[in-house]
């Protein structure tokens, strides 16, 4: 019976269970930690918004923020999906770097539209194995809207891994986008990287 059950468990689940037990025995992130991380992240974003610098300068600031607070390698790999598993270390690094630049340009421009506004953290709550930190964006001339930061410590330290803007999931959006780009390049990752370097 036991063997039967084990056979039904996927290798991934067993390995996952073992590794999570070994690596993160009691390192469960708390409300307070998640809130603290997002609090600092939001402070930095607000500073950039208030500074109202040029687009290029804003994007550069965002690249720093993204790298400092986000689990960029995890987000990049997740956006690429199963294809990421077949890449060599150097290919993955090149892809991750291109992805980081692309995301900074794309979302740096978005946040630049927040000029004159601000973001306020409102609450934090557990969501499955992660934490969700809820915040509200107050923009001039539009109704306030909800931003949710998803925080995890599974990469070894507290990092944000996803962002939901009024329910629109950044990671899901990028999965669709990166998949479409990969398709356009006939599944060629080197060409995808070149495309990412120009995109955003």
């Amino acid at each position: 019976m036991t063997i039967f059950t084990l056979n039904n468990l996927s290798r991934r689940a067993v390995l996952g269970g073992l590794i999570s037990l070994a690596a993160w025995p009691a390192a469960a992130i708390t409300d307070r930690q998640a809130r603290t991380l997002v609090g600092r992240l939001v402070d930095d974003i607000n500073t950039v918004i208030a500074a109202n610098k040029s687009e290029a300068a804003t994007i550069k600031e965002f690249e720093g923020i993204f790298a400092r607070y986000g689990d960029v390698p995890a987000i990049a790999r997740s956006a690429l999906g199963p294809t990421a598993r077949g890449l060599s270390g150097s290919e993955l690094d090149a892809y991750t770097a291109a992805f980081r630049g692309y995301m900074s340009r794309k979302y740096g421009k978005r946040f630049r539209e927040f000029s004159g506004g601000r973001i306020e953290v409102t609450s934090a709550r557990p969501a499955g194995r992660f934490y969700e930190v809820l915040s509200t964006a107050y923009l001039r001339g539009s109704n306030p809207f909800e931003l949710t930061f998803v925080v995890s410590d599974r990469g070894g330290e507290d990092r944000f891994i996803n962002l939901l803007i009024e329910g629109v999931n950044m990671l899901a959006t990028e999965r669709v986008e990166i998949t479409a780009m990969l398709d356009q390049n006939g599944g060629n990752v080197a060409r995808l990287i070149q495309m990412l370097e120009r995109a955003g």
Binding site: G16, A84, G128, R154, G155, E166, G167, V168, L171
Partner: protein, 255 residues
Amino acid sequence: MAPPKFPLRLTQAFSLVLVAGLLAGCAAGPSGEDRFETPNRAVHGFNKGLDTVILRPASQAYGTVVPDVVRQGVSNVASNVSLPGDVVNHTLQGEFRSAANMTGRFLVNSTFGVLGLFDIAGPAGVPEDDTDFGETLHVWGAGEGAYVELPLLGPSTSRDAVGTVVDTILNPIGAVIETPESTYVAASRTGSLLDGRYRFTNTIDSVLYDSADSYAQSRLVYLQNRRFELGDDTTTPAASSGAGGDDLYDDLYFE
């Protein structure tokens, strides 16, 4: 006795037929996938062309020529005349508190706010609580149906498309006003549409023109945002763990 009024116009009748067709179509198949992808993509191409040729340039002109305060006023009027419809739908959903709030908002903004030009109620603590018949259908238990991109109207679902048609036909404002007031209302709606397109130029451009697959992006953004809006009243941590993180770390660290 006055002759009965038929607010149903030709375009509405057309979309009703279209929606009936869609509903008939989706009654058979499974849900959850994009069953109308091929026709949807054709409509998307059409809509995107209209945006390129008409909506985007018009919104740029409107946003550049008309001062911000005036555009805001026009958008306020459009939002104000949608309130009676919101009241009806909140009531049908059993949201009596929201219905009462939106009634108060409509009365205050229509009088002190000079026919809705100024939003007095918002800063006083009664912001707009938008709803529609699609949401009413959701509250009544109707499923989302299939994803559809409607000509001119853009992303929708078969449920929300029915909602749009019902909202248009049953619009209380449309039933009580005549020309020229109805023309002003239509003009304010056009202004509001252009203002929205202008205000979010970069975000909308990013989806429509910068993405590798603008149809798939529009579909995703619409569905996720719509589900978020509809689930808002019953949000639970479990429901929102569409955080998308789970398989992220499974993929990453567990393989």
